[in-house]
Subunit: 520 residues, 2 copies
C-alpha cells in the first residue's frame, strides 16, 4: 500500500479500469474560449453579519458573482498558445480526505494545459505542511495517470489542516511568492475554505499577486449554502455507508438479538446520517439538529430509544439498527455546555488532570455521572477549530450503555417483558472515507477542477468554484464562482458559560434543515 | 428493514436484479436420475483418535464416502412422481449468519420439488429455538422469491445455536418425530456440524427415522478438511472486507498520521485475516497460528509491531494498516492460559466479581497488568463451545495501547525519532456478514442444497454435503457426501492448568497451514 510521491504505482484491475473513465464537461466549459459574465454583488446570507464581514474582508467582500458561459456562436476558439498566458498554479489538499479529491486536480490540470501547454500545476506534498515547507511535486500526465477516478488524497497526502495563525499565513504567502504562483487552489471543507478566504484577503492587502481559490470538497456534506449545492465526496460516502448499513440491517434481522448503534462520521451536522437513513432504512436515526431544536437531554434520548425497543419487543422484534451522527454530543444541550466548560479550562491552560476538579458544581455532577471511558474522551484537547474531538467521543457507546441499564431496570420491574437487551457499537467512516469515488463525485470534482482554471484566468481572488443544477444531467450543469466571504456568517461563541463574545466571520457548517424535504 | 416471516418483502433494485440470477448445476446433478456410488470407508484424519470416535459414534462412524454421478447414458430419466417418493425435510440455520445461506435452502427446495412435487420443505423459525419449539414455515416458491442470492439468514432467522444437551437433543428428536421428517438439514460451521453428527448418532440409536445432514456454511472458513475445500460465505466475507481494508489503506496513505489496527471477524483461526491480507496488501498481518507456533508473548508481538513502526518512520512513513484475527487472544500462550484459568473458575461456579481474587499468583500478576477494559472482557462467561467470547475481546485495542506506550517510551529515550504514534482501532465483521453473496457463494450454496437432497434420498445419516474441485469451472465440480464423524479429531483440553482430560471427538476448526501455499 505504500507509495512514493510522483512514482507511478501499481494498480489493481478495478483501479486500472477506473483510470480509463473520462468525465465529460458541460457545454459551457467546452472549447478554449469561455465567456465570463458577472452578476450581482454577492451579499452575505445573514444581513446582520454583513457589516462585520465587510469590515473583516475589505478587499474581498462585496465582489460580484461570476458565471462561466459558452462563448457566443460567432466568436472563434482562441488560438491556444498566443492568447492564453502561461500560468503557475499551486494546489493543496486540506482537511479530511474525501472521495473525488484527485479529480479536482485532474480537471484543473487538463484545463490549464488545454489553454497553454507551458502552464504549470504544482502540488504541495503532505497538505499544508508541504505548503509551508515548499515541498512540491509538479503535476504531470504521468503523475496523474494512476490517480484518475481513484479515492483518497494519497497522490499528494495531507497532514495538518490549518492556515490560520499569522505565522502560517505568512508562511503560505512566502511560498506563493517564492514559487511565483499566479494562484493557489485550496481543496477542503468549511474550515479550510474559511482559511482560504482569510488568505485571499491577506494576500490582497499585502499586494501579493497570488489569487486564492477554494473548492468545496468534504465528505461531511455540511458546506452548503445559497451558492453551493453539495460537496465532493458526500455522494460516495453516503452510498458506501448505506451499503454497509444495509448489511447491518440484514445481519440484525438474521441474528434477531442485537441492536446495532452506528455512529456516522460527518462531524456535528447530521447530513450523512440522514442521507444514509433515507438510503438504507434503519429502524431509527437520531438527528443532532432535532435534538438541539427540542433541547433533548441525554436522558430524553435514552428514554426515546428504550420506548422504541420496548414497542418493538411487544411485536416480538428484539433487534434493530440505530444511526447516530458523529458529533451528536455537541447537540445535546447539557453535554455541550459541559464541553464548553472543559474547553474554557483548556483555554486557560488548566492541565487535563486538573480539569475535573475545576468544573462548576452542575458540570461536575454531570461529569461524575458519566462512565469513565466517555469522561476521558470529553477531556481531550479540542481541535484547531475549537470543536471537541468528535471522532474520539463514543456517544454511541454512552447511549448503548444508558439504554442497557434502563432496559435491565424495566426488565426487573416487569414493565419490559422482551429479551435481554444487547447492543453492539460501531463507528462508520474510515471504511468509506478511502472508498473509490462514485460517478457523480468523479464528474463533479473534475468539472470543479476546470472551473478553478476559469476563476484564476479571470483573475478572481477569494472565490469558491461552484457548479449548480447538479440534479439535472451533466449537460445542464451551470458553472460559476462566488466570493467565499459572502458564504460567511457571524456567530456568538463562548469560552466557558460566563463569557460570550462575537466570533470572527467564518464559513459555518450547514445544519440539516428540519423544514427541508429530505428531513420529511 | 423489518420482515415478517413468509411475507414477501420489498426489495431494492439491486436485490431485485439479484433474484433473477439462476445458478447452474454441474452435469453430475442434472436430470432427475443421479447415480450414487460408494467409495472407501471414510477414516478419521487422525488415526490415533479413530478408536475414540468409533466408540462415540458406533452407528455413524465407519460409513463409506458417497459420490453423486451422472446417470449412465443408457438409463432413462426417472418418471418423477412414480419413482421418487415424496419426502418431508426440515432445515435450520445454526451459528453466525454467512452470506449464501439462503441459496442452500433454494437449491434443496428445487431438488426436492423436481423429484416429487408432493415433497415438503419445512424451515425452522429463529434457528434452533424454532427447532425445539416446532415453530415452522413451509418453504414455497413464494417464500423463496425474495431471498434468492440474498445475504443474511433473515428468511428464517437464527438465535441460539446449540443442540447439545440431552434436553436439546431430545427436543430436536421430538420435533422431527412430530413433524414426521425424513431428514433434518443443519446449516452451520464446525460446532453446528458436530452437533449434527451427535444428533444423527442419537437418532440412529433411538431408531428415529429422521436422517441428519450437515452443510458447511461459515464465514470463518475454518471448516476445512480432507473432504471440505471451503465453506459458504468465506469468499464473500473476504472480498467485502478486502475492499474495506483497501479503503483503509488509501485512507492511511492520505492522512499519513494513523496506524489502523483492524481485527477481522473469523474466530480463532486466521483464514479471513490471511486471505484479506493477500487480497488487500496491508502493511502487516498477525497470524494466530504463527504466534502460537513461535510461542510469541504479547510483549513479543508488541515489540515486532514497534520495530516495524520504527523502521517505517525511518523511511518517513508514519502510517500503516495492521490486520489481526478475531481470536488472536487465544493464540497468545500466556493469555490463553489466563483464559483457561478464568474458564475453569467459571466452570466451578465462581462469580465474575470473585474470579480475579482466585487466580493463581502468575495469572493474577498478568491480569493486574492488563488495562481495565480488557480485564472486563476476559472475565466474560465463555461461549457454549467453551471458547472465550472472542468477538468481545478487543485485542486490537490492547495491542494499540501497548504499542503506543512503547513508542512513547522510545520517543522519550531518543531511540525513535518519528512522529507521535497514533492508532485507530476497528473490528471488521458485522459490516460484511450481512453482505450480498458473491457469485461463487451463490453457486456453491445452491449446488450444496441439491447435494443435500441426494444424500437424504439415498437414506444416508450423519453425512455432510460436499462439493470438491471448486477451483475448476462449475461443470467440473464433483459432488458427494462424507460422514461428519470422519472429519472429527480428538483433542486434549483442560479446565484450569491442573486438570487435563481427553475431550469428546468434534469437528475442530482448521488452522492456517503455516507450510501451505497461501501462507507463503
Amino acid at each position: 500500500m505504500d507509495s512514493d510521491y510522483g512514482v507511478p504505482r501499481e494498480l489493481s484491475e478495478v483501479q486500472q479500469k477506473r483510470t480509463l473513465y473520462q468525465p465529460e464537461l458541460p457545454p459551457c466549459l467546452q472549447g478554449t474560449t469561455v465567456r465570463v459574465e458577472y452578476g450581482d454583488v454577492a451579499i452575505a446570507a445573514d444581513p446582520a453579519g454583513a457589516h462585520v464581514i465587510s469590515h473583516a474582508y475589505p478587499h474581498t467582500y462585496g465582489q460580484p458573482l461570476a458565471h462561466f458561459l459558452r462563448k457566443a456562436a460567432n466568436v472563434p476558439d482562441a488560438k491556444v498558445i498566443s492568447e492564453h498566458p502561461a500560468v503557475r498554479v499551486g494546489i493543496v489538499f486540506c482537511g479530511r480526505q474525501s472521495p473525488g479529491g484527485h479529480n479536482v486536480i485532474w480537471g484543473l490540470h487538463e484545463a490549464i494545459k488545454a489553454h497553454n501547454a507551458n502552464s504549470k500545476l504544482i502540488g504541495f506534498l503532505g497538505g499544508t505542511d508541504g505548503l509551508l515547507a515548499q515541498k512540491t511535486l509538479e503535476i504531470t500526465n504521468e503523475v496523474l495517470s494512476s490517480y484518475k477516478n481513484q479515492g483518497g488524497y494519497d497522490m499528494l497526502g495531507r497532514t495538518k489542516d490549518q492556515i490560520r495563525t499569522t505565522e502560517q499565513v505568512n508562511g503560505a504567502m512566502a511560498t506563493c511568492q517564492a514559487l511565483k504562483l499566479d494562484a493557489l487552489v485550496i481543496i477542503g471543507g468549511v474550515t479550510s475554505n474559511t482559511d482560504a478566504a482569510q488568505l485571499a484577503e491577506t494576500f490582497a492587502e499585502a499586494k501579493c499577486a497570488t489569487k486564492v481559490v477554494g473548492v468545496p470538497v468534504t465528505l461531511n456534506g455540511d458546506l452548503k449554502n445559497q451558492f453551493v449545492e453539495t460537496t465532493v465526496g458526500f455522494d460516495t460516502i453516503c452510498k458506501v455507508n448505506s451499503q454497509l448499513i444495509s448489511n447491518m440491517c440484514t445481519d440484525a434481522l438474521s441474528a434477531e438479538k442485537y441492536y446495532y448503534f452506528i455512529r456516522m462520521m460527518g462531524r456535528k451536522a447530521s447530513h450523512v446520517a440522514l442521507e444514509c437513513a433515507l438510503q438504507s432504512h434503519p429502524n431509527m436515526v437520531i438527528l443532532g439538529e432535532e435534538v438541539a431544536a427540542s433541547k433533548l437531554t441525554i436522558f430524553d434520548i435514552t428514554k426515546q430509544i428504550c420506548d422504541a425497543v420496548q414497542a418493538r419487543a411487544e411485536k416480538d422484534k428484539n433487534h434493530g439498527v440505530i444511526l447516530i451522527p458523529e458529533g451528536l454530543v455537541e447537540s445535546i444541550p447539557e453535554l455541550y455546555a459541559l464541553l464548553q466548560e472543559i474547553n474554557g479550562l483548556h483555554g486557560k491552560g488548566v492541565s487535563v488532570e486538573n480539569i475535573s476538579s475545576q468544573l462548576s458544581p452542575w458540570a461536575s455532577a454531570l461529569f461524575e455521572f458519566l462512565p469513565q471511558f466517555i469522561r476521558q474522551q470529553l477531556l481531550l484537547r479540542p481541535e484547531s477549530d475549537d470543536s471537541a474531538q468528535l471522532s474520539q467521543i463514543e456517544t454511541e457507546k454512552l447511549l448503548a450503555q444508558l439504554v442497557e441499564t434502563e432496559m435491565n431496570k424495566r426488565l426487573k420491574e416487569g414493565t419490559y417483558k422482551g429479551k435481554k437487551f444487547n447492543a453492539i457499537c460501531h463507528f462508520f467512516g474510515y471504511q468509506a472515507r478511502g472508498a473509490m469515488p462514485s460517478k457523480f463525485d468523479c464528474d463533479y470534482a473534475y468539472v470543479l477542477g476546470h472551473v478553478c482554471y476559469h476563476i484564476l484566468a479571470a483573475g478572481l481572488n477569494g472565490y469558491m468554484a461552484t457548479v449548480t443544477n447538479l440534479k439535472s444531467p451533466l449537460n445542464k450543469w451551470r458553472c460559476g464562482a462566488a466570493p467565499i466571504s459572502s458564504m460567511m456568517t457571524v456567530k456568538g461563541w463562548s469560552r466557558g458559560p460566563a463569557t460570550t463574545q462575537i466570533g470572527k466571520p467564518a464559513v459555518h457548517m450547514a445544519s440539516v434543515d428540519l423544514r427541508g424535504k429530505a428531513y420529511e
